[in-house]
Structures are given as structure tokens and as C-alpha cells.
Assembly symmetry: C2
Homo-oligomer: 210 residues x 2
Amino acid sequence: MQEELYEAYHFIFEQELLEEINKMGTPITISEGEHLINIGDYVKMMPLLLEGAIKILREDKNGGELLLYFLERGDTCAMTLSCCVGQTKSEIRAVAERDTRLIVIPIGKMEEWTARYKSWRNFVFESYHARLTEMLDTIDTIAFLNMDQRLMKYLQDKAKINQSEIVNNTHQQIAYDLHTSRVVISRLLKKLELDGQIKLQRNNIEILNL
Amino acid sequence: MQEELYEAYHFIFEQELLEEINKMGTPITISEGEHLINIGDYVKMMPLLLEGAIKILREDKNGGELLLYFLERGDTCAMTLSCCVGQTKSEIRAVAERDTRLIVIPIGKMEEWTARYKSWRNFVFESYHARLTEMLDTIDTIAFLNMDQRLMKYLQDKAKINQSEIVNNTHQQIAYDLHTSRVVISRLLKKLELDGQIKLQRNNIEILNL
DNA sequence: CTGCAACAGTAACAAGAGTTACACTAAAAC
DNA sequence: GTTTTAGTGTAACTCTTGTTACTGTTGCAG
């Protein structure tokens, strides 16, 4: 039994299921920036995160992007669950936020485990619940907040996910995630710095009010 | 066995489950504009729509609203499913878009049926899938479209849901659903009329390009 | 050391959306 | 019929965000 698997999931799954996951699953490592899945890809595997973080993005027709949310240890991708049922293509893009280890499970196991293990059913339902909640949060953010508030929230989320008050990002990268332009981000960051909320350096933003 | 239940769900559920739904469920009628559930309410029942339409709204702290999506016959509320697991409060508001008939099921049955009926599991998963997809669509709309495009899409969706090319709404009501102001809606509607996409009358918008 | 490329700062302007204010009109109430 | 109210049309202005263009700065490659 992989130690990491046990550590991250033994509160969630019963022993028997843990062992089955260990047997059927394949451990994978992806490094920062690598694409785990793209829009339009067929979903053949279901991921269980052990360590690291994944960011989930939505894309429009013109190549514009929008950050939806992050996945962390103990999370899985609800869109994947969802796609397994319908055998449909992925609606989102998943990119490693930092170096990440995960276990992938062949989707054939899903239905079997759903019928057999109560802990699995609960996990799946709770994943759906968590993802729906995060989607609602995303909608709140883009519908009800101004860009400066969205930016500050983004920086705080990012700091939390990476467990560091320093965000190593160019203004352009932030602009992509928030679906706006670099100039806008530079402008607002400067304003946040004058407000004393952050400190700016090249490739490097320090968040002061975590 | 209620005829409507059979009609709407016999393709989805096996006979035995249909009979159990019929036995355990309570038929309810709500009229247009009535609130089925509000934000913060505890969710004690799960709805299965038989006829009509429900609109699902999100709210911000200042009382501002935003339309998320509509539910129709054969749909259920994924937020409800979701809440049943976590025993949490509702994150959304549900309002009857027109007179609606539905069956409510005590949430205690949910877990039992999930373990027992494959068709129920599939239904629940497909509901989650459908709702996640609609949430993505909502996000696309508010993140990637301008207000005039959102407005046109809103009118088309509304026409489709109510099976009529006439939308009976005041500009103010539309403004609430799209989380903007009446003046903005009036302005854009007038523009759409000049473009030949709609025809305006009091309390009444005819959609020309369905 | 030089030159290039990526990153950041900023100004000036354009476009979209929100706000305020007021006039007009149809429908409902009296 | 007259009054009242809800709904609509529009102008003028502000604020936020997006766009274009140009400057300066850092760091790396040659």
C-alpha cells in the first residue's frame, strides 16, 4: 500500500476499498505547468490527488481562458466523474499548478465501486457537492465583484494553495486566469500596492493581508 | 400510479422504483412566482418535476440576484441532492417560472435508493452532470459575453422554456435576472429592436430570430 | 559587453455598463 | 372620465474596464 494514498484517503475510504484503489490505480507525477487534460479530450481516467494542486480552467471560442477553481489533496475532478457517466468530452482544461502526484483509476471501476462501497458513494457525492459549491463561488466572484476585488481574491487563493505569501506570477499570467488584459492587471496591482495590500517585485507579488 | 409521474419518468426509472416514488412522494402544485426554496433554508425534500418550469437564482449580500438556469420536466435540483449529503442550507433560491407540478420525496429515501437501484444512481449522476454543465454555461455567459448578447440569450432561453415566442416580462424583471439595471435593459432592448431581432410592446417582447 | 526578449509602468483614449433624472404612455383604480 | 401607478424611452454623466502605444528595466544569450 502506498503511504501517500493511505495518508490522504484513509479517513474517507474503508480498508478494502483503499486496497482496491491501490491495486487498480496507477500513480502519476505531473510537473508544474503540464496539462493533465484539455477541452475536447475524452476522459478515460479518474484522478485522485495525493499531493500538489491542479487548476481548472474554462475556455471561450477565441482562446480566452478563465480560472474556475483549484483541486488539492483529497479532491477529485467532478467533471471527470460527470464525463464517465455520459461518455462525453471534457468541458474544461486541467493544468498542474505545481508539481503534483495523483493516482488515476480506470473509469470502469467507478460504477462497480458505486454499487459496492458506501464510502465511495459518499466520496463521489461530496465531490459533486464541493465542485458545485466552488462553481457557485466562481459565479459570485465574476458576477458580483469588480476586477480589483477579484484580483485580490485570486492572489489570496493562490497564496493559500501554494502555502506561501509570495505569488510567483507575471502580470500576463494573472491576466489570462482572470480573463482580462495585462495592462488592467498592472494598473490594479499598482493600486493595491499603494493601498498597502501587496508588495510588488519582478515575477513576484507579496501578499500582506492574508 | 399517477399518470404524470409515469409519463415523465418511465424511461428513466424501473417499474419497482416508480411505484416506490409514487408511494413515498407527495405531489405538489406551485403557481407562477411562488418560492419553492430560499437561500438559507434547510433542505428536507427532494423535488422531481412533472410539469412546468423552475428558475434557479443566486443572490449576493446586497440583495442582488442572478439567474443561474431553469429546471424542466424530468429534472431535479442538484443543489438539493448535494445538500442532502451534507445536511447544509440551500445556496440558491428556486422560484416557479410558471405553474408547476412536482413530486417531493423525503430525503431519507435517497441513500436507500442509491444503494438499491441502478437507475436511481444513474439519474442522480446525470442530474449532477446536467447541472454542472449548466453552471459552466452560465459562467461562459457572464464571463465571455456582453450584456446585449446575454440579454438576447436570456430572451431565447425564456421563449424556449415557456414554449412561446412572446416573453411577458417587464424590463425591471429582466434586469433582476441579469443582475443589472432597468435602464440598461431598456437601452439594449431598444437596440435589439432596431436591429430587427425583437419587437417591443408593453409587458411583452416578441422574439423574431428563434 | 551588446543586444534581445520578457516583464512592468503609465498615459491617453474608447467602449461598456451603471446612475440619476425626468418625460411620456398605457393600464388599472377610482 | 379622471387620477394614479407601473412601465417605458432617453439624455447626460460617471465609473470601470479594455485597448493602443510607448518607455523603461531586468536578465539572459551570444
